[in-house]
Assembly symmetry: D2
Homo-oligomer: 365 residues x 4
């Protein structure tokens, strides 16, 4: 019997696999002048303490409908380094071709990883991660800044670093005052109320990221996201928006951000007819409101309308039509040109205890 | 101790309950010149052999996102008549106020119910159901026609009436030739291929209905529907469209209808960029196709492109973005102004074995 | 052409339809000496202000895996009486044959319906509902008691009857002291804390029911249920258990009841190995706990173990295996014969602010 | 300002993360004398052409409820070798501690990877993967055999290796006849009918595996599995069962295997009462059958009962109770001591066109 069995050249299937799966759509609307980009700016691979290859991060981003990600492997913590031998730019370089092919914006990043203070900082839009490997954290952060980086304080609420309290240290003031701290994670595994307070006080850019280490598992939901309100769907567009503070943080069924972004986001999610209601005393009229977004908006009445009643609470369910029923309770209502209803949106937060308040104005006559 | 306990006037909660639930949206697009109305034109209540009150049919229609329904209680079969005492117009009259309040179009109908031939006929757009209670089925159908009714043959494939074969009887020819048979159920509990053949041969209007008797249970799906391509969202608009044959039948993940409706329905479901691909030999380009409809379109390549390869099969998943990858396989492709790809859409049927064939034309240069 | 079209005798399909659907299984274990029967003892049909035919209630009970129901149509409130003409026993009589065929225990009941006080009372196990139609509520309740009825106060928290407060009136004391009030609804549309307090103070039987009027919609969940710990799966067994107070109330992911029932229910839900752990200082051992019930048990540590640490919180997810990790923190642990861990089960409530506390005892040596 | 920011020792969280998630239960029953172990014996990591770290394979196995896995990285194909530098035993060594901690049986394996013939072979239960790196495939397979390996032919239907036909080559006969081919993948990404035929003809052990390269994504389902009927839940128990051919292949809602295993698997999944039915002519009796397994069994009547009718088709839905209705159609039925009903189970396959036929025997008197 003749010999057989040559060692073969296999088909490399990975580059085509991306297109075996369909890409979800995250339905969060654009707002006037800006595209709303869905970004996750904190994650790891086997090149630090993660457990997936960099290309997996692109495949996940494609599948889940993201616009942009940053792989932010730790500079100082690489537990797989016995087996995985490469410099700090390698995870970016390995992911970039698939990112380009699938139109995912890949932002070059790294995580500067220290004990508290100052804790962990992500440096985004860097040009060379290897130069960040410096003993002194100030030197490392300064190097990142000199590369043009956007710098953010990661997970200030992480109890492994601050078990008993969540403090802003002198070190953070130092970085903040020297243009080396531009943003803060308001969400990373959990919501961090202190971070939201500081973001509002100091006008830090708000971020919400997954910090995923293993394979991403989103089931029917979505990972935590930084919504970036960008002038263009480009890396430059994201950078400009981050430095300008134009973000919101989307986790579970909640969005946190400044009212100037949340209010248009809310109304751009909705459709309802503008025809006059012609509401009269002792009559009811129904406004059908279509919510085209993925968010179930949870509304609570702030103050009764003038001359009419509106429901105390109503949920505008995602991708459904809700019926808002208004009932006239005085004769004057028939003469009102328009009807104003004020609702608190309990899952749109501008501050820790500050849900967004919105005004619906319906034409009446 | 004083006496207590007066018999009370209860709050009537039913009229408000409608608005406790959100209304789904059925995402099937409009086509040029027509609104695509989602209609179920065959169902029952306790006023014949159903087990729900007529208002339940309106609540279900609201919840599921329907535009129009017809309650078609049997004239001749009323097994609850010992307890439920009313004339044949009663189920319509009881449902109408809630229909109006919730903007569901309620078409007055009834089911003329006989053994085969001719089986069961729905009469839609009638004015007085009581007048259809006549011994002779010809007289009953004639009365319906004289009221202006659209008349349809229900579930020709129902094995309780035709156990061994599905036949078109002389009786059906008689009705058809005398303007007393305008449509046929292509779907009722199951797809009826013979009905589709007859609809195509005789230009009968195609219908697909639930014929629901108990509470509707749609889980995460949708009930079988008649899609009506109407000039306006009115009862008159539906009537005009039905008599003109402008319908399609939507069940499970399949739509059956004439190609003049299915083709625009398909392309109106999709979005993709029109920028030139600039495909060259030995290169690949990806067209990202967004499917905004609820239907997963299942495509199978009919014939290879000229100068390029396209996938043999691809599913355009509902509410997802799919990536169609084209690969140049000859030098001429670089000179083509546009690239044509021909796909069979296996779940859009124009005939029993006739899936719709569609042509994608992508600009290349 | 010859005449055709006889009025036909249709197949009556309803009696067979029951078996077209599979029956779910509600996984709540039996406890020592008792079967845990899943019961809903409050619901309506078209024979009062409901919107479904009585047989629908049996079909729903079959599909959802219930053991017993009671149809409790209002004696005093029958808004459909223009069309639906029957006496108060009729809904029971119509449902009974299908109940027998499908082995659902159907308890004859009615709702005595008055303004507050005393509000609405369900009378269960009655023999003739017509005799309850009496002007004076005392007479009506007395008649029920004389028929051997178990009497319960329905939805004491219903804000249509008690908008600003939830009170126990003299009338309730009167009924309670005269053997005419045996149970109270702790859950009906919502949890009623006052009812739970009264049930505990006065040893009233706790009930949780759906009070469903329209078609039941349980999606992937379950309706609110009264769990009855009965000596036999019979109507007599349920009656004996109700009068003896052997019930718990199961809604959403919560069970409310006395600890004598909740504790065995909890431990009967679980399986884990009894082999010695041999835990030593600075080592960890994992106990794998299988939860065979439908309830996700949410545990919170009450007090640390002696010589070892256990997780602060752990969820024992329904139909999953959870890993409880114990870590030795002193040398003595190696000598312990058994390890006790105390957890609060936050969704098993014995009182309004009293979650059940359970002790896990693991053999160590 | 003083300097700050030491490089820190991070908490290593990965070893504890396993227990953050609950473990599913795969409900496929044991059969007499054997435990039914759920095994996936073919998968990859970054140490060949996979994209996850070896520990991920253990976490996935824990989460999904598997008993045993084998990581079978390619010997000859390691596209990440520029970055990932290690020998062929490394993926096993990295996964083993977590496997032990979580009680997942980890079988040492490797994939010998050649063009067709003979294609790809998995060697399971090897002792040193490095010794398999040999130019001649016969030498490599022989080395594996000498290490005591169970050897299987992987994915014979893979069209990248056999695009136009699925052939058994002389090389396979050579290996088969020389104790170097013991099993064959009947399922790998797709069902391979030829493999099932060969398994039956030659008594090869049937296997069904995931061959997963990226993160496992099972949604609500399960990955393809080899069901191993083992005398003990040990690696030795699995090895003995594999060499003895005691397996079945479980994919989607289908199980493929020999009838001696499928029949007891089917009946061990079911519960029904043994009390006599006492069926008489013109009466119906219902047998309630509880299916405790995860498989929806799809039954089709093979031949009518003697003296009674049974449903033509019935689905015994997973974790539900189904009602099998028997109707007497002759007077003799009342005298039958027992009633036999023969069903084909369309999703239990003993051969390509050979569904398992089962006999239900119900006591009648």
């Amino acid at each position: 019997m003749k010999k057989f069995g040559f060692i073969i050249v296999l088909l490399v299937v990975s580059s085509g696999l991306l297109y075996a799966q369909s890409r979800r759509i995250i339905n969060i609307p654009n707002i006037s002048g800006y595209q709303t980009l869905k970004c996750d700016l904190h994650m790891h691979t086997v090149f630090s303490d993660g457990t997936v290859w960099p290309t997996v991060r692109i495949e996940e981003a494609w599948n889940e409908g993201l616009d942009a990600i940053s792989i932010t492997d730790h500079i100082e913590y690489r537990p797989h380094s016995i087996d995985v031998v490469a410099d700090h730019n390698r995870s970016y370089d390995l992911a970039k071709p698939l990112a380009d092919q699938s139109d995912i914006l890949l932002i070059k990043g790294a995580e500067i990883t220290r004990s508290m203070p100052p804790g962990h900082f992500n440096a985004l839009f860097i040009t060379n991660a290897n130069l960040l490997e410096l003993d002194d954290v100030q030197d490392a952060v300064k190097e990142a800044r000199d590369q043009g980086a956007f710098l953010m304080w990661n997970h200030p609420c992480w109890d492994a670093q601050q078990p008993d309290s969540v403090l802003w240290w002198d070190e953070h003031s130092y970085f903040f005052e020297n243009d080396m701290l531009h943003g803060i994670e308001v969400y990373n595994w959990e919501f961090c109320p202190e971070a939201l307070d500081w973001a509002n006080e100091k006008m830090l850019t708000m971020l919400g990221n997954s910090d995923v280490h293993g394979p991403m598992d989103v089931n029917d939901g979505h990972r935590p996201l930084t919504l970036v309100f960008a002038k263009s769907r480009t890396i430059g567009g994201i950078k400009e928006a981050l430095f300008d503070g134009r973000t919101a943080v989307y986790f579970d069924n909640t969005i946190v951000g400044r009212s100037e972004f949340l209010e248009p986001l809310f109304f751009q999610s909705l459709e309802f007819k503008k025809t006059p209601l012609k509401l009269k005393n002792k009559e009811s009229k129904v406004v059908k409101i279509t919510n085209n977004s993925d968010v179930d908006y949870e509304l609570e009445l702030v103050q009764p309308g003038v001359g009419f009643d509106a429901p105390e609470t109503i949920t505008l369910k995602a991708h459904h039509v809700s019926a808002l029923s208004l009932s006239g309770n005085s004769d004057e209502v028939a003469n009102s040109g328009s009807l104003d209803v004020y609702y608190r949106v309990n899952n749109l937060l501008t501050g820790v205890d500050d849900p967004l308040v919105v005004t619906f104005t319906f034409r009446n006559n």
